[in-house]
Symmetry: C2
Subunit: 591 residues, 2 copies
């Protein structure tokens, strides 16, 4: 059975040595002293390692079941969910007014990584609730907030997001679900929604569905979509749960992974719903929290890679197979451990350097989201908006690949379900799809974010890289980082330039390279993170830090990333610069 | 439900336009006129598309079950297996003497692709039988051949290969299964074997296990391993089936995919066995057919990519979502089909250009195997030995990635099991692991094959590339192919040179780049294949071929590969040239 140990020290390193959070002027950050964040992370580490991780394979094997209209979660989920609620883990960054702890998003993101690593399917129940609550918080009336939020922040009631219908996912303008206005100001919602994560279950007294639907007679397409609160059970003005609403579970989908989460087909049959936000502004309301939601999915890519890596390392140290090519290393055993073999190390270093780089990238993004929300920092908001599709798309593509690499280290034992390595890849696969498939992320990046506000944000990103390289040009201890970072950044700029020159004339030339650009950008971001982490590690060592092995390992791991992963930028650039000719040449019938 | 249409025309193109098989002097090749191969392929296409493909999801959903020691295959497998046997598909390339059709291996490989595309798990029952029969053919006494082969060629009896034990897979020298010699010349086999594909089932009257075991008192490690024939039921001298032998099924493994194949734990308890080949030469006997076996697994990578691609194309043409960025293309529909979007095309072109290139590569390899076996061509044998780890490792890594890309085109519908796209990725995953995990392939390539016979074979490969480029240097119609092929080949030579210079001093420098080298080599091979296919397509067009769209599509697809996939070689070279320093730097405890 796989295990999970929360990487508290690595997270602390990013929060304090790299991002220096407690010295930030973002409101609430000054409370995040190292002792405090350490206590929170240690506690979360205990809960996730001891309670949630052991339930991960249980959820995979049992799945959820639908019996007589009732959805049952796997054995142990309910009790664990109670423990999570009691610990106050469900509303870490939610306002105190509604029962939350109002901690910075950067800290709740760090905790979120642990939850997701230990049990992605389980964590989605509270994750979806958080998303729905955030939408109500942003767009609800005071009455709506008072009515729904306290119970959702505590996860006594959970939430869902209802967008997809059988014939439309990405293109929600095609939506058919209807909302008929009633005399009392409410709406009757009818239609079918599919792929609804945490759509129904037995762990909460009520479920608050946020549903996109069209009010008849409204504008065509996406401009006629509104957002509604549709509870599973009607709630009266005093907050008492009443009659069952007109929403039922049609089916639980059989999926490749995340079996522990009930992915439902939900049928709405004149269900009572309440408009959330403005009429016909449903997409805006649903997507207000898009940066956080997508960053959260990018984080799942990291989380899966991290836990898979941990288990792969254990196996590589433990499994005896073959002898080191440079001479026996385990003379008392019948063979050497796998970890002596260069190709095993190559794989483990790919994984390790990815996870640690991705973690820094995500927490930097979360810090910018805090700056945007807590001190209305427009530059931070613009930059994180630019980077959001990279965080989501690149980190989930790569995160998935890393789980495949971790699984490979187990050989045949990775293919059978007994060791849990297959589950990590099967679970990680969904993160490339939901919350905007990665092709849509790449389109968002190249088609929209790159030129946003006159290209101001991408210029700001290049300035960060340029200034870091300039400020540290003389630092011999960073030479292995600055040189490759500069080269990679130059590739990124060349790609951006290519898009500017050709994209206007023929958008297909730019969009044919969108996936490559997202990956090129991702590598530059992780290169920047590693350069910053190396600087922090050097500083800690120069400052006499006692745990020299920890900081030296950071430097070694970072050097690996710069030397072995960053060369990918040249390949992506070369592909981008071939434009759309070969991509678009074939007529559809010749595929 | 996914569908499969055998790519008969594409296979015919490789066999006749590219490899020109019927003009070859390899014995048996002159019979392979286009009409004949077309008839065989059409017939196989019908069987695989209509009978085997519909059973693929059935096998995945039902899996195999063990009840009271008896293994049951999924519904429909038994009847389909009868149909396969009756059609004579199980012994295409086996000697007529034993009931086979003695067709060239290149043709049985082409048919094998269809079988594997339509139903990988099902096809493995005959695939393992073929492997076991080939070993008996190569190493058995006349008596053994007469006793076992006719029934195995017809698949009345099936076969298995028993190598892995719980504590050893790659490192078989650690094996514990024992073979005690008996007075009558037979052996008593005792021990546990795991991951035995097609290990037991209800589709054959007997199962012939080939089992590696150690005779007590023999040499240590791998040098003391012998190979034994151990039937499920004892067979008397007249060929009658007698008592049950001492082999039983301990368990059927729960796996990520290929659920339709019974992967068994087999317990041998003083089972009667017969030495196959020489004492203590078991590894040699087991691996005589290694090139074919590994080529066959590389073919599974192609086969999975091909069927996944076919379904992805259908979905991309059918699913309406969004509008083309350059203007509406389906004005009468509510949206345009997915295939108008550049990033969808990029993915489909990746898949298409891979599958067609891989097919040419595999059939070229099979042709060399025929030359080696049928006319004792040592050069062909050496070259295909060099390329075998590339065929196995590169094509299964890439083949898996392609199934992931195909799945991605379905969005959320690819993640649920309903459409069968998840199965293609789950099934394809095993090919990266079995028959020597891909890390072992890379090690075999760099550590062994590259320098074999003084580097003669890799020089022969470079000569093929060089001569093709030289002979066609003036051909304007091949410019898009020759230029990138030259550049990629230069990267490969530089990598080989790096290994020669550093590998002697520090093998870790070479082995740290083994995976990259395997992929670099693979891209050059597919680049060469595309260049040859382009030449053949140009020739067909110049010769007035009627189906111009077919040949022009080949040229367009090939140009895509050269422009968009070959630039990977530069990245792999850059990684290789960083050597082993960053890979080997961390102490094991710092992972």
């Amino acid at each position: 059975m796989p295990t999970y140990t929360a990487p508290v020290k690595d997270i602390q390193f990013v929060l304090h040595d790299v991002l220096n959070v407690s010295n930030s002027d973002v409101p609430g950050y000054s409370d995040m002293e190292a002792d405090f964040t350490n206590a929170v992370l240690e506690e979360a580490g205990k809960l996730t390692g001891e309670v949630l991780a052991p339930l991960n394979v249980v959820g995979d094997h049992e799945g959820c079941r639908l019996e007589n209209g009732v959805v049952y979660t796997p054995t142990g989920f309910k009790a664990a969910f109670e423990q999570v609620k009691e610990g106050g883990w469900t509303g870490l960054d939610m306002p105190e007014q509604y029962g939350g702890q109002e901690l910075p998003y950067v800290l709740s993101t760090a905790v979120g990584e642990m939850f997701s690593s230990s049990n992605q399917a389980f964590t989605m129940y509270q994750g979806l609730t958080h998303g729905a609550a955030a939408a109500i918080l942003a767009h609800g009336t005071d009455e709506q907030k008072d009515k729904w939020l306290p119970k959702m922040v505590s996860c006594e009631w959970t939430g869902t997001m209802n967008l997809t219908e059988p014939h439309c996912g990405t293109d929600l303008g095609l939506m058919r679900t209807k909302a008929e206005p009633q005399d009392n100001g409410s709406y009757k919602i009818s239609g079918q929604k599919i792929f609804i994560s945490a759509g129904d279950h037995d762990m909460a007294d009520n479920i608050v569905h946020l549903v996109l639907a069209k009010v008849p007679g409204g504008p065509e397409g996406i401009k006629g979509v509104s957002l509604f609160i549709v509870p599973k059970f009607i709630v009266d003005d005093e907050g008492n749960i009443g009659a069952r609403n007109g929403v039922s579970v049609g089916n639980i989908e059989k999926k490749m992974g995340i079996h522990g989460n009930s992915t439902c087909v939900l049928n709405y049959d004149e269900a009572e719903g309440y408009l959330l936000g403005d009429l016909n502004k449903g997409m805006r309301a649903m997507f207000t929290m898009m940066n956080e939601a997508r960053l959260g999915v990018g984080m799942q890519g990291l989380a899966a890679a991290e836990v898979a890596y941990q288990n792969a390392v254990d196996y590589a140290k433990d499994r005896l197979q073959g002898r080191a090519v440079t001479g026996v290393e385990n003379p008392n055993g019948p063979a050497d451990p796998l970890i002596v073999h260069p190709d095993i190390r190559r794989s483990l270093m790919d994984q390790k350097s990815f996870s640690e780089g991705a973690r820094a990238f995500i927490l930097w993004g979360a810090q910018m989201i805090d700056a945007a929300h807590r001190k209305n920092d427009k530059d931070a908001d613009g930059l994180v908006s630019l980077l959001t599709p990279v965080i989501k798309g690149f980190l989930t593509d790569e995160g998935y690949d890393m789980t495949v690499k971790a699984q490979q280290i187990y050989g045949g034992h990775g293919y059978i379900e007994e060791h849990g390595m297959s589950q990590f890849t099967r679970d990680a696969r969904i993160a490339m799809i939901y919350e905007g498939a990665n092709g849509v992320q790449a389109l968002d990046l190249v088609g929209r974010k790159l030129a946003q506000d006159g290209g101001k944000h991408v210029m700001a990103f290049f300035d960060i890289v340029k200034n870091f390289c300039k400020d540290n040009a003389e630092d011999e201890g960073l030479k292995d980082f600055i040189v490759p970072l500069k080269a990679a950044s130059k590739d990124l700029q060349a790609a951006g330039m290519y898009f500017m020159q050709t994209g206007m004339k023929n958008p297909n030339d730019a969009l044919s390279g969108s996936n490559d650009f997202m990956h090129l950008f991702g590598h530059v971001c992780l290169g920047l993170m590693w350069a910053q982490m190396a600087k922090a590690a050097n500083a800690a060592l120069a400052g006499g830090a006692s745990d020299t092995a920890f900081y030296e390992t950071k430097l070694t791991t970072g050097r690996y990333y710069m030397a072995r992963r960053l060369p990918a930028t040249g390949m992506h650039l070369a592909r981008i610069q071939t434009g759309g000719d070969t991509v678009m040449a074939l007529a559809a019938e010749n595929f």
